[in-house]
């Protein structure tokens, strides 16, 4: 696990922040935007968010692993603490001018049609960074059950 140090003990939150600052700074700010967005929805509807579903393109510039790690930090102390981030990776889809059809790239180091090898730079999908859905539970329902 990333949260554990080389000698197996869990790292202190401070050390984890230092590590984040060194290697995942923009994932942290992306995670904070996601938390903020989900929090607004939660407050608006007075619900508890249990999970956030995110579509993440392979060309988005964000690494899913670093984002998951940052998400936990971004959630702490907010009403999303303990919630999960569920990432669905979106492959890179380009338009092949020779085939006249959309094609999914097999490598991001090779912007060529996987079938006919024509080069293409017209990206259709793969830059997504979209919160698609929230898994929510009514806040008041749980309170009522607790107080009954």
């Amino acid at each position: 696990m990333m949260a554990e140090s080389a000698w197996g003990k869990p790292r202190s939150p401070h050390l984890r922040m230092v590590e984040l600052e060194e290697r995942a700074m923009h994932e942290l700010s992306i995670a904070m935007s996601i938390v903020e967005m989900a929090q607004e929805e939660a407050e608006l509807r007075d619900v508890r968010v249990e999970a956030v579903h995110l579509e993440l393109g392979l060309l988005s510039g964000v690494v899913a692993e670093a984002l998951l790690f940052s998400y936990e930090v971004a959630c702490s102390g907010t009403r999303l603490e303990g919630s999960r981030l569920i990432v669905k990776e979106v492959p890179i889809e380009v338009f092949c001018p020779a085939c006249g059809a959309p094609k999914v790239l097999t490598s991001m180091q090779w912007f060529r049609c996987p079938d006919c090898s024509a080069s293409t730079s017209e990206v259709i999908h793969g830059k997504e960074m979209i919160v698609t859905a929230l898994e929510i539970r009514d806040e008041c329902a749980t309170t009522h059950i607790g107080s009954a």
Partner: protein, 232 residues
């Protein structure tokens, strides 16, 4: 028992706020006839030297200015100020990239009049800046001959997000056994058809071709916006 969690459909772009500010900036620049160029590269690729040369060469004929992002120091801004063009520093602190709001904030209250060209030098980083639209018309990605020909393959996302590639420090190519055709092929692999310029900010070679290209692109944009403005 608690009710089962339910799914709430949302579909919101995480960078919506940044993209909206960038769109407003782009519209403002177009209305003012300002052509905006951003520069990204790894640290030490020669962004500042290249930009200083660019400003110095454009200054006699155009109104130019630069915004420069840096984690902590104002060294780059001081170097750029030698070109005598207006330069403003954006200190990003721990943030590894510029965002549209920082550009907007830096421009507000900076009385530099109408500009022909505005350059935005991003923080030296080939990862983080790729996701953030700054409202620029053209994004240049710089690669120096001392970095190795495989940089484009290691950072395909930023190369793919750029419009033009500039190979810098070309005067050192022989000294470091730079394999130019391999570098060009790697750029082509991750961003087919991207225009590539080879320059030396030190001895000025290649600068003229690149500046001619910039001026042509800015003229295209200005005439486009004139056409749009004159449309009934």
């Amino acid at each position: 028992m608690n009710a089962q969690p339910r799914i709430l459909e949302v579909r919101k772009n995480v960078l919506k706020q940044n993209d909206e500010i960038a769109r407003t900036l782009r519209e403002r620049f177009r209305a003012q006839g300002t052509f905006v160029v951003s520069l990204v590269s790894s640290p030490g690729a020669g962004k500042t030297a290249f930009l200083e040369k660019t400003l110095t060469l454009l200054k006699p004929r155009y109104r130019v200015a630069a915004l420069v992002g840096d984690l902590a120091t104002d060294n780059d801004a001081m170097r750029l100020a030698r070109s005598r063009a207006p330069v403003k520093q954006i200190t990003t602190g721990t943030l590894c990239h510029l965002e549209a709001a920082m550009v907007d904030h830096a421009l507000n209250g900076w009385d530099i009049g109408r500009l022909d060209f505005l350059f935005i030098e991003n923080v030296g980083n080939l990862v983080c800046p790729s996701s953030y639209d700054l409202g620029e018309n053209l994004r240049l990605v710089l690669l120096s001959v001392t970095e190795g020909e495989d940089k484009p393959l290691k950072y395909p996302t930023i190369f793919n997000s750029a419009d033009v590639a500039v190979i810098t420090k070309i005067d050192l190519a022989d000294a470091v056994d730079f394999n130019e055709s391999a570098a060009m092929a790697n750029i082509e692999a991750v961003r087919p058809g991207m225009q590539i310029y080879k320059v030396s900010a030190k001895n000025g070679s290649g600068m003229e071709d690149y500046l001619r290209f910039l001026v042509a692109r800015s003229t295209e944009l200005t005439s486009e916006s004139n056409v749009m403005l004159h449309r009934p």
